[in-house]
Symmetry: C2
Subunit: 181 residues, 2 copies
């Protein structure tokens, strides 16, 4: 090993320790995501998301709502838009942002027929959406379509700057049923 | 507890066990992400990403390249576009998809001045991008700007349907330096 190699190697070790400490510090003992019970309006709004999923390229749909009123709708348009990132949640967020200020997303609820993948959950977090309600879980979806095996709750729990409510399993059977039609 | 409550409770336990088994099964003992060494062209292409970051709303830039040739460029446009999801990587992907078929993304390399967040890494995975080269790590960035504490390598490792090469730390000091200007 040259001196340079030694320095590089030592630097890598120090950086590795700092990285491990960072991830450990950002894994709260108490969940940052609040798992909340089903609310009165959840089923009706989830039915809208599932109806959108039934028309989608892959069977996923989403609506963004505040106080029970729908503000934006999305459905998977991956094939029609030739865009693998056009998931239901992303399409709903893009449509919302085309008409509203991003500040108006704060405190909204996003209903989605499938638990948000890391891409969609990241977008939800960066947009300050306050609550996520999903039907089928990533684990349930993975029997039908390729999934990244990280729950949206884990993503939320690793986000020190945001707090988000999560409710799962609302009309999950209906959402999964779309994969059998 | 009513009979319904008992059934609901039992169903939740069964679903919980299935979910735990799913996540365990998708945590490979051997990493699905390949940590690869720096290639000859990496520094030059990273300099392009860092130059874009210097012009961005938040100091993040990205380029998508194949065989050393740049195919698309992106920079954080969160403020200008009024879109909190307009990260450098996402902007580069959207610009690429506006001009090319998504199939052409497969096997490309994405260079980014900051390690991809879960949103961007999810997009990278869904698009089939073959390699990610980043400068500053999420752990390093977190000293300067809010981050989701999940590495892009962890996201890749939890993705059973994709294999992606990852190289980190290329010109990291220059990328972090943009936060001090």
């Amino acid at each position: 090993m040259s001196t340079d190699d030694h320095l590089t190697s030592r630097r890598a070790v120090v950086a590795g320790l700092a990285t491990a400490a960072f991830y450990a510090a950002n894994t709260p003992a108490k969940s940052a995501a609040l798992t909340t019970p089903v609310k009165a309006e959840d089923e009706e709004l989830m039915r809208e998301a599932i109806a959108l999923a039934a028309e989608a390229d892959f069977p996923f749909g989403a609506v963004i709502a505040r106080d029970g009123a729908v503000l934006a709708r999305g459905l998977n348009l991956g094939k029609r838009r030739h865009d693998p990132t056009a998931h239901g949640e992303i399409v709903a967020i893009r449509r919302f942002l085309a008409e509203h200020s991003p500040d108006e997303l704060k405190g909204t609820t996003l209903y989605t027929s499938g638990e948000p993948c890391p891409m969609c959950m990241g977008a939800i977090i960066w947009c300050g959406i306050g609550r996520v309600v999903y039907a089928a879980s990533i684990a349930e979806l993975s029997a039908h379509i390729g999934q990244v095996a990280i729950s949206c709750t884990e993503i939320a729990n690793k986000t020190p700057f945001a707090s988000i409510e999560i409710t799962g399993g609302v009309l999950a059977d209906e959402a999964i049923g779309l994969f059998h039609t």
